[in-house]
């Protein structure tokens, strides 16, 4: 196995040399303008979340609050019915455990689709894709009935257990695409040395997939963190609910108070943002073995 850090170093210096100073500045300006555009709705969200109630109806949505206040944040964080700490840990559980389970099993399932020959592969793959094609609206109630029959309503089982069974077509499909791009020389050689498929998967394929595993982990985490419908349908007990449901109920109690709603959204956004920020080096610095010859 060849170390890749050296390669990355080479690559980065090369790019740095290639990038002329003017190009560099231009690039930076483009990035900055794009970022401003992308942050436009977020700016409104932050401004609204900091405006005291008196300013929300009466000032332009573009204005920065004249007397910024954290009152909406305090309301969210201290509301005894919301019970922020408890809901936060519920949310953390619901967004991490199923994500880890589904990313790992999705990789397992994607591996044979990408790199092994077996009976019925291409048609089974179409079956896999077809599970994404039926709108969830019509399977909502049958799923609920299924989970109720299993006695899983008002527990975390509907979120955790299915995650261990393949992690969904989207994840499997993306991993399959990634795995198909990995050159075959390495595992071919390993196969000749007598390595089993399990070893090849674990030692060669999985480490190569780190960028895409990280991507999927972020998707899964974000999805779990912001899930509204799942907990809403499957859980009854307010103490088991996640933040998103809690915030929704807080909003309803305060009847669409914009500031409160935006503060709630910001509070959910911050941990997701931090996770993304922490994870992103894995998107970029996967242990790239590709092309190593």
């Amino acid at each position: 196995m060849k170390r890749t850090d050296a390669e990355h170093f080479r690559r980065s210096t090369r790019f740095a040399k290639l990038a002329h100073r003017s190009n560099y500045t231009l690039l930076w300006i483009v990035l900055l303008v794009g970022a401003v555009l992308f942050m436009l709705p977020l700016y409104v969200m932050i401004a609204l979340s900091l405006k005291p109630e008196a300013e929300i109806g009466t000032t332009s949505m573009w204005s920065w609050p004249k007397s910024p206040t954290l009152v909406h944040y305090v309301t969210v964080l201290t509301d005894p019915d919301l019970n922020f700490i408890r809901k936060f840990f519920n949310t953390l559980f619901l967004s991490t455990v199923p994500t880890i389970a589904s990313v790992v099993t999705a990789a397992m399932v994607a591996y044979p689709f990408a790199r092994l020959r077996f009976r019925g592969r291409d048609r089974l793959f179409l079956i896999l894709l077809s599970t994404m094609m039926l709108p969830g609206v019509v399977t909502l109630i049958p799923s609920y009935v299924l989970f109720a029959k299993l006695g899983w309503i008002n527990t975390y089982k509907p979120f955790v257990i299915p995650a261990f069974f393949g992690g969904g077509a989207f994840a499997i499909f993306l991993l399959r695409q990634f795995m198909m791009g990995i050159p075959r020389e390495m595992d071919e050689a390993a196969k000749i040395d007598g390595a089993s498929n399990g070893v090849i998967f674990w030692r060669f394929i999985l480490p190569n997939c780190v960028p895409v595993l990280a991507t999927l982990a972020v998707f899964g985490f974000v999805g779990g963190f912001k899930d509204l419908m799942g907990p809403l349908m499957m859980l009854n007990d307010p103490d088991l609910m996640n933040l998103e449901v809690g915030l929704r109920s807080l909003q309803q109690a305060h009847r669409t108070e914009f500031g409160l709603m935006m503060a709630g959204s910001m509070i959910v956004l911050i941990p997701i943002f931090l996770i993304f920020f922490a994870c992103q080096r894995y998107f970029i610095r996967g242990i790239t073995l590709t092309g190593g010859k």
Partner: protein
């Protein structure tokens, strides 16, 4: 020692037996937050009065009825639930609710039905039986008015003698509501858009509903079993057109953008700001108004119709019903009686939350009405007493299901087209009157369907699975495998085990919905057999052309959003893959909009696209509404055929889908990180080789990056098309299918069929039609992929 222990044990056992095990009642409600605090206090109080009953509150924050339906289907429904008078018949008509007449003391003094507002009591009757005890009554036609603006206009405060007609009657002056509205609408010279509007309604449809209810125009012959429609009757057309003119022609009310946005909060804000002089809404605003406005406001009656007979008003309320499946009817009944009795109602009324259904409580000062010695905001509104008379005028309509979901729902759907000013009332109503009778006849002629043949259903399911297995394995059946291939195949299936087991969770419900697509199913009762009827109805444009409209709009959206979204994601990923200072932060910033709460973002987007104040139009038209960047706005307005008018992005059928596509681009961050992951897999050696060959930047992109990214482009294409054809969220939150069905995408429509109209069989058929469409696209793409997708580690 042993004897002592034995005695103690016997004693303990006796103690246990003598205290009866408390019974737990599950109570489902819509409450949250503050209401919940109050509710929990009340539950404690109730439990101390009834020590053998425990009440477990299950607040359902959103999708209230869907969850109740799911619970019913799974037979885990709560014992007691809050019900809405317009929606409870869907449970009552299907025997899911227990008739309260079963309890001997329904007519007794404790329940005191006679002391409650008769209309709301009647509203909870179905087929002559009482299904809920009303808790509160909520007329939605109070006029909140800003006293200062009345004084400034020199108009006396309303005294309850207002009347209205479909024209202004200046000779009546302040006795004519519309004259008052017109006088309170103020403009600067030469600017059509008023800086102060005379009137606004809490949500758009309310205006139309109020005018129709209070003018009492006859649109069909009777409510029990409507057989004749008079939709294009001149009186009906007159009221419809007037509702639209108030918004579009006279501009007494905020413009059609606000109408299509359906966001309640703006209007209340505008009223508090003083840009709207009067606000029509329900009594539920009282609490907020007290808290946020000082004391220079009050409420007034909605005017009576000048030509009218019975002055009805729209409204609703809430009541408590008991599910038929309950195992503890008596305990459930105790809770219903207690909570809808004075002990439950008084705290709710005192907080200004809702008007109690018991009339005596609504009239006694210090409960619903302010205390006689109250001061400041607490004594507002001074006219609260009028709510008694208004509650007496509330009328809720009970129409047969097939009518509500057919004609009545199409009629409501037409409100948008009329209120947005895009079509005249006459056009819309003439067309409805032409089309609807045929549908009505069909609904009336529909005979009772036979029971669903479950045996055949199961057999079909088994056959289906067998056919799939055959399709998967038959082509390779009998092909001899080498030993090596056999081991490879065997280990492949070992890897697939989790997915194959998990398939049960997805395939089970899928097969179920397929079988249901041949049924008439309301989720609650056992399904009836419809054969291919659902498919035939959906595909027949004479019965319903919605499928074609809906597919067309869905394709339009997908055709614009998928390529644009992919190009944006690809460009962003190339940009964010550069070695530039701060690029990790930029990546996070570009991804942020895709992370933020969809509902909060939608609310912000509505404002960004606002016709008058939105930043998009500010950019296009400039601050003066004339110039703007490169005169883009006026040019676009001319192209759209509305010269001189700023684009009504979300309110016009022509621009709403492009607006959705633009909003979608802010979510490109998700696709970007997929491409970013793909870019990492490209070996540097290829670039080095290309550079050695003298390739420039463009050629390196074209011949190295692009081919290596094709697996991800293919992935984005497949999942993008699947996602776009199932687009739901934006329309559901922002436009609810409107304007004029323009965003009535397939899934939005079938959601409405499934949960709005309880036609799960029909919805399933629609879902499977969409499935076939998506499958066809996917197969085409899979076939084409062989030509352009390059896999470095391909097997062949």
């Amino acid at each position: 020692m042993t004897r002592r222990l034995l005695v103690l044990l016997t004693f303990l056992l006796g103690a246990c037996l003598s205290v009866a095990q408390p019974v737990t009642i599950r109570y489902a409600c819509t409450a949250g937050g503050d209401n919940l605090k109050q509710l929990n206090r009340l539950v404690k109080q109730f439990e101390s009065e009834f020590p053998n009953i425990r009440v477990k509150v299950e607040p359902i924050v959103d999708n209230y009825e869907n969850k109740l339906l799911s619970m019913l289907a799974a037979r885990v429904s709560p014992d007691v639930a809050v019900l809405n008078p317009n929606r409870f018949p869907m449970f009552a008509s299907r025997d899911a609710l227990k008739p309260l007449d079963d309890f001997a003391d329904l007519g007794g003094p404790e329940v005191d039905l006679k002391g409650r507002y008769p209309n709301i009591v009647k509203a909870f009757q179905y087929d002559g039986k009482q299904y809920a005890v009303p808790r509160d009554v909520a007329c939605s036609a109070y006029i909140y008015y800003n006293k200062r603006l009345f004084r400034e206009a020199g108009i006396p405060y309303p005294d309850g003698s207002w009347t209205w007609d479909t024209k202004v009657r200046p000779e009546l002056r302040e006795k004519d509501f519309m004259w008052v509205v017109s006088q309170l609408t103020l403009r600067k010279p030469n600017i059509r858009k008023p800086y102060q509007y005379g009137l606004a309604t809490a949500w758009p449809q309310l205006w139309m509903e109020t005018l129709l209810t209070s003018s009492n125009v006859r649109m069909w012959d009777n409510d029990e079993r409507p057989t004749k429609l008079f939709l294009d009757d001149p009186k009906v057309v007159d009221v419809f057109q007037f509702a639209s003119d108030c918004l579009n022609k006279f501009r007494w009310m905020p413009s059609s953008t606000d109408i299509t946005l359906g966001s309640g909060s703006t209007m209340q804000d505008e009223f508090r700001k003083g840009t709207v002089a009067m606000l029509q809404s329900g009594a539920w605003e009282v609490k907020d108004m007290r808290a946020k406005m000082k004391d220079d406001w009050d409420i007034a009656q909605f005017p009576t119709f000048a030509r009218g007979e019975a002055p009805y008003l729209p409204g609703e309320g809430a009541g408590l019903g008991i599910f038929a499946s309950t195992e503890h009817p008596q305990e459930a009944w105790e809770w219903v009686k207690w909570y809808c009795g004075p002990k439950g109602l008084i705290p709710m009324a005192q907080s200004g939350e809702s008007q109690p259904s018991i009339r005596a409580l609504a009239l006694e000062p210090g409960i619903w009405l302010p205390k006689t010695d109250a001061t400041g905001a607490a004594r507002m509104p001074e006219n609260l007493r009028i709510t008694d008379e208004m509650a007496m005028r509330v009328r809720t309509r009970q129409l047969p299901d097939w009518f509500t979901n057919g004609v009545a729902s199409d009629l409501q759907g037409s409100y948008y087209a009329v209120l947005s000013g895009e079509k005249t009332a006459e056009e819309v109503l003439k067309k409805l009157q032409e089309e609807e009778p045929a549908k009505l006849e069909l609904a009336l002629s529909r005979v009772e369907a036979p029971d669903y043949p479950f045996g055949i259903g199961v057999a079909v399911a088994v056959l289906l699975v067998a056919a799939l297995l055959g399709w998967i394995y038959a082509p390779e059946y009998g092909r001899k495998l080498s030993r090596e291939e056999k081991t490879e195949s065997r280990s492949a299936y070992l890897f697939l085990i989790p997915w194959l087991i998990g398939l049960a969770f997805t395939a089970g419900p899928m097969i179920y919905s397929f079988l249901l697509s041949f049924a008439e199913s309301d989720i609650i009762q056992t399904p009836k057999w419809r054969g291919i009827g659902n498919y035939a109805d959906a595909l027949n444009p004479r019965i319903d052309d919605t499928l074609y409209v809906s597919l067309r709009q869905t394709f339009y959206f997908a055709g614009l959003s998928v390529p644009l979204g992919m190009i944006a994601a690809l460009l962003l990923s190339l940009l964010l893959n550069q070695k530039v200072k701060g690029v990790p932060l930029f990546r996070a910033l570009y991804y942020l909009p895709s992370l933020a709460s969809a509902v909060a973002m939608s609310l912000i987007w509505m404002r960004l696209f606002d016709k008058d104040q939105g930043v998009i139009n500010l950019f296009l038209y400039g601050a003066d509404g004339q110039s703007g960047f490169l005169h883009l706005g006026p040019v676009l307005s001319n192209m759209l055929g509305t010269p001189g008018e700023p684009i009504n992005w979300l309110g016009s059928t022509k621009t709403v889908i492009p607006a959705f596509v633009i909003m979608g681009l802010w979510g490109a961050g998700g696709g970007t990180i997929i491409f970013l992951a793909g870019l990492q897999a490209i070996s540097v050696s290829y670039y080095e080789a290309a550079t050695l060959d003298g390739a420039n930047n463009w050629r390196r992109f074209r011949y190295v990056t692009l081919p290596m990214l094709t697996p991800y482009i293919f992935f984005s294409l497949i999942t993008g098309v699947i996602g776009a054809l199932q687009v739901f969220g934006q329309s559901f939150v922002i436009t609810q299918g409107g304007p004029d069905r323009a965003t009535n995408f397939m899934v939005v429509w079938l959601y409405q069929k499934a949960f709005g109209e309880l036609k799960m069989g029909y919805a399933s058929a629609l879902a499977w039609i969409l499935f076939v469409v998506i499958l066809a696209f996917t197969l085409l793409q899979l076939a084409a992929a062989k030509k352009w997708v390059y896999y470095e580690g391909d097997l062949k």
